[in-house]
Symmetry: C2
Subunit: 361 residues, 2 copies
């Protein structure tokens, strides 16, 4: 389909990428990150190779220990001899250089494992948005053959939540201390969570937080899924852990997922195995109910929309008449003789596209 | 220029808006928020009325007390008989309904003052992004005649930071407890701050945090402005407050702004007067150095870009062939026979715009 890639540098890169050369993966990622010529052709060619990896979104407030948890989860997968790609967009992550030196050194233990690949995304203002680029890097890790691709993002902000929310399985990490933050982010985080993790669960307040979350989940379930509310119609406080797991299993067999709340101490490794098992279970649930396929369809639609929008921006600003018209119009904009809306209409018209009805300049 | 608005509902709304009808302001805001037909024409017409208000961006981590601070600052301006418009995009803000009932009731004290107008933005996925819509609502408040327009956003996430960063004066609010969070958000917040506020400064750690920020500011100043580094070439620890204020004043007269760090206890009102005075001083600095005009020019350019991009998205998806082509292409996308990049190219071509070189489908 992309005839000009047959003998091009893109084609050469593709061959080395498919041969499993790590350097080719790194180059492909840089190419996508910098939106260098041919990056979309590369992603187009790799598209049929997607869908083998399990995509895990991991998000939560700053300071929740997301990176440590990500590292420990990766090591857990390594024990099963499975390979893990990590892409982090989180100003608080040691992967992205936001944290203290000590953390960064600690992380290097996993950075030298050939079965683990870590890429941190610079939060610069890429045309078309960091969110799409991050998901495209996750695609590369998937196509390259990693069994698990973990996307770590900070759980505040529209686009950051969106990235984690488009994974197969989204893990929301909270900590007992983050009382205010939880209030803050509740709405957005509740909507995307498939699994809740309470990290640093050895600190005071972990049980109370777990209960609060279960109550919130219970309320939401009662609202949106009246049919499934029955088995939640008892006080969660009085239900033991074993009973809860049985309840969950029954629900999954019946085709509904009761969002689990897992306690971990990432630093010591406590609870990481349970988290990995729960992610496995979620994967089984997704596959058996057809939800995996639905999520991936949604992802394909969203990606297409994002690529169209990015391409239109490129046409308007990088290759098009936008900057020139804008520069000419600045005096009129400043004097108030014209508005951004008038100038925008002229730029859109210069692109050869009709302007919407109701705006004439 | 917009001939069809002369006798339209937009024109009627404009007249009542300009007559200072509060109901018209609320209607105009809803129109912009929902991107209802004519909303761009409305903003176009009001463009010449912009620029009278002082725009203040107020941002920081969840739980920093931004809303209380915003309220107290607004009341401070009310004492001078100045009018204040507030637009909040912050999941943790009581204005936007994210916090506890008690907070919300407390806020109602200022919500009944006719010299204060509060609008909270729903964080739904508006086409073209919440960031642009928020700034357009700030425009409406400016055009309506408020003396101060405060934009409160949570200080994590690309677009949230961007909103606060495009104000005339950007205030970054931190609290002693937010140790981890500061590490987290340092990079983004340092870049946009004109003024730092340490709120809840009666709690332990406030002095240490103030010192840390001053050291960071000092380091940054040393890097980027070697000429101005001289008067910072002493340990900030040993410099008293009065001396520091003299230093700042000298710097401002010399055309550079030494970012102040102010301690407040918003709950009790401590430090609010100093904050208001500092914002005044920043305004004088902006005007006397020509920086205000530069910032507003940059804002006009950014707005024009955002409006073009939003319009192109509207053309592709709401009024254009995008959804239809995408729906037809889903089977091929799922089977791997086509990719989002191939489908995107077809949609862009169907819009009548050329596709970039290097991608042919």
């Amino acid at each position: 389909m992309l005839s000009d890639t047959r003998t091009s540098p893109v084609q050469e890169l593709l061959e080395r990428f498919r041969a499993g050369k790590r350097v080719a993966l790194a180059r492909a990622i840089s190419m996508v990150e910098d939106a260098r010529p041919g990056f979309e052709a590369l992603l187009h060619e790799l598209h049929p190779d997607l869908g083998r990896a399990q995509r895990i979104g991991l998000t939560g407030p700053p300071g929740a220990g997301k990176s440590t948890l990500t590292s420990k989860l990766a090591l857990q997968y390594r024990e099963r001899d499975e390979r893990v790609g990590i892409v982090a967009v989180d100003p608080s992550s040691p992967f992205t250089g936001g944290a203290l030196l000590g953390d960064r050194i600690r992380m290097n233990n996993i950075a030298t494992d050939p079965g683990i690949f870590i890429r941190s995304m610079a939060a610069r203002g890429a045309l078309g948005g960091l969110a799409t680029t991050t998901k495209e890097v996750a695609d590369l890790l998937d196509a390259y053959g990693f069994d698990h691709v973990i996307m770590e993002t900070v759980g505040v902000g529209q686009s950051e939540l969106e990235v984690a929310g488009t994974a197969d399985t989204t893990v929301v990490v909270l900590v007992p201390e983050s009382g205010d933050s939880i209030q803050a982010m509740k709405a957005g985080l509740m909507e995307i969570a498939d699994i809740f993790v309470i990290n640093k669960a050895d600190r005071p307040g972990a049980d109370r937080l777990a209960q609060e979350i279960e109550v919130m989940l219970h309320m939401r379930l009662g609202e949106s899924q009246p049919a499934a509310a029955g088995h939640h119609g008892v006080s969660l406080k009085s239900v033991g852990k074993a009973a809860r797991e049985r309840t969950q299993q029954a629900a999954e067999e019946g085709g509904s997922w009761a969002i689990p709340v897992i306690k971990t101490v990432a630093q010591s490794g406590d609870g990481i195995e349970e988290l990995a098992r729960t992610i496995d279970r979620h994967r089984v649930y997704l596959e058996s109910t057809g939800e995996l396929s639905l999520r991936r369809q949604r992802r394909l639609g969203e990606r297409t929309r994002a690529v169209v929008n990015r391409r239109l921006q490129t046409l308007a600003w990088l290759r098009g008449p936008g900057e020139e018209i804008l520069a000419e119009s600045l005096p009129a904009l400043e004097s108030g003789a014209d508005s951004p809306y008038g100038v925008a209409a002229r730029i859109v018209r210069a692109l050869g596209v009709d302007t919407p009805a109701g705006i004439q300049t």
